[in-house]
Amino acid sequence: MKSACHSSFNVAANRTFFTLLLVLLWVSHASAQTAHTSHMVPTGKGWSEEHAYASHTVVTGNGISWHGGSIMPGNVQVYYIWYGNWMSGPKPSDNQKTVDLLKALFDTTDGMSRSGYARINTTYGNVTGNLAWAGSTTDKYSQGSRLSDARVGTVVSNAISSGKLPKDANGIYFVLTSSDVSETSGFCSYYCGWHTSASISGTDIKYAFVGNPDRCPSACEMQTISPNNDSGADGMASIMAHEAEEALTDPDLNAWYDSRGAENADKCAWKFGPTTGTIGSGAYNQTFGSLHWLIQMNWENARGGGCDQTLGGPFYTR
C-alpha cells in the first residue's frame, strides 16, 4: 500500500514537473517571438508605440530578397556624433560649414526626407524613408585618433549613456570623424563607411561610421570640386545616404540583401545616373530645398529592380 501510494505520488510529481517545464518552454518561446516581431518606438509626442518589425509586405523578383529580419518603420530619427575636431581640423572641410550642410541633408523640410529619392525606400514593405535629423553631440577624441570598430561602438554607447543623445531604437546614430581620425579596420583602403547594430543598455541601437573623405579623396570622393564647395561634406552626403538606406531596410543585417550579400545601396554604389554638370566640376543629381547634391542612386525594389534617382524613375546602370 505504501509502495502503491508512493508510486502514484511519483507519477503526480513527474506530471507536475513536466507541465512546469512545458509552461516554461512556452513562455520562453513566446517572449522570443515577441522580441523579434515588435518593439516600442518613440512618437515624439510623449508616448511610445509598438511597431511590428517583421510583419511587412514582402515583394519578390526584383533582385533583392527579404531574409526574415526587421526593417525600420515609420519616421526614423538621425543623430550625429561629431568626433574629433570639426571646428578647425587639418582640412578645410573639418569646419562648421560641413556640420551645417550635413544637418540640412536630413532636415525635415529641406532635406532628403520625403523626396522622390527617399521614397525609393518605400518599396521595402513598411519603410517610409522619412529620415529626420533629431540631434547631435560632439566627442573630442575620447577614444583617440585611431578608432577600431569596437571604439566606434563605445563612442555611440558613451553618447547615449551620458545622456548627450537619447536612447532610440528607431534611430540611426552616425559617428562622423574629422579628417585627422583613422578607422583602422580599412577606412580609405577598403571602405568609406559602414553600418551595424548592437545592444546598448538593453536596446537594439543602429549606428554607422562615416569618415571625412577629404582624408582620401581618390578613394571616397567622386569629385573634389563639389556642388556646395565643400568636398568633405559633399562626399560624406552620398556615403551617409547609402548607410541610412541600408539601415532602414537591413538594420540588423538580416533583412533585405541579395544572393551575394549586397544590400540595397550596395547594388548602386558609386553609380549616380545622369547629372547636371560634369562630374569633377561640381556636378549634382539631387536637389533638396535650396541645396544641390551628388548622391548615389538607390535600388528600387519594384519593376524588376534597378538603380534610380527617384521612385518610379528610369533605371540606370552607371
Binding site: L20, L24, Y190, C220, N254
Partner: protein, 173 residues
C-alpha cells in the same frame, strides 16, 4: 521525489531565464558590419574581373592591353625567380585552364599614380595537368598611363588553410 522534481524544475527555470537576462543586460557588439566600399575598390574590382575573364577566355588582345611591358609574376615557388611577361602570357594562353573564379576581400591603396590592390581569389583551375584550384592571396601593382591602367607586377601566394567564407549577414550570433 517531490524535492527532486522541484529541484529540477528550479534548475530548468534558472537555465531558461539566463539567456533573456543576459541579452537584456550585456552590450552586444556582434562584430559584424556592412561596408560601403571605396570608389577605388569598385574600379579595380571591375578591372580585375575583366583581366581574369580574359585569362579564362585565353584572349590575347585584352591580356596584352592589361599587361605593362615590364610585367612579371612573383610566387613563393622555388627557385624564386619572377615569371617574365612573355612566359606568363604563353602559359596563360596555352597551358592554363581557369574554369571559375571569385574575387573577395579587396583593398586598394593609391600611391601617386600607382595602385596597390590586394584580394583573395578563389578559383577552380588546372595548368599542364596539375590542379591549381584553391584560394590565392594576390597583390597587384597597377600603374596609370593616361586613361588606362596596366598591371606592373603581381604577387600571388596560395592560402593553405583558407578561412571558410562567412555566411550571409545575420546580424545575430
Amino acid at each position: 521525489m517531490t524535492r527532486t522534481a522541484a529541484f529540477f524544475t528550479m534548475v530548468f527555470a534558472v537555465l531558461l531565464l539566463i539567456p533573456s537576462f543576459a541579452s537584456a543586460q550585456a552590450p552586444k557588439p556582434d562584430g559584424r558590419r556592412i561596408v560601403t566600399t571605396t570608389r577605388l575598390v569598385a574600379l579595380f574590382s571591375d578591372l580585375e574581373q575583366q583581366w581574369t575573364q580574359a585569362m579564362q577566355r585565353r584572349d590575347a588582345a585584352p591580356l596584352n592591353k592589361f599587361l605593362s611591358d615590364e610585367f612579371e609574376l612573383w610566387t613563393p615557388a622555388p627557385p624564386g625567380d619572377p615569371v617574365p611577361r612573355e612566359d606568363w602570357l604563353h602559359d596563360t594562353l596555352t597551358a592554363s585552364h581557369l574554369q571559375s573564379f571569385q574575387i573577395q576581400q579587396m583593398a586598394v591603396r593609391m600611391v601617386g599614380d600607382t595602385a596597390l590592390v590586394s584580394f583573395v581569389q578563389r578559383q577552380k583551375a588546372d595548368a599542364n595537368g596539375q590542379d591549381r584550384s584553391g584560394d590565392y592571396f594576390i597583390v597587384d601593382l597597377w600603374t596609370q598611363h593616361g586613361d588606362t591602367w596596366q598591371v606592373l607586377v603581381r604577387y600571388a601566394s596560395p592560402i593553405k588553410n583558407p578561412p571558410q567564407p562567412s555566411p550571409p549577414p545575420t546580424g545575430k550570433q
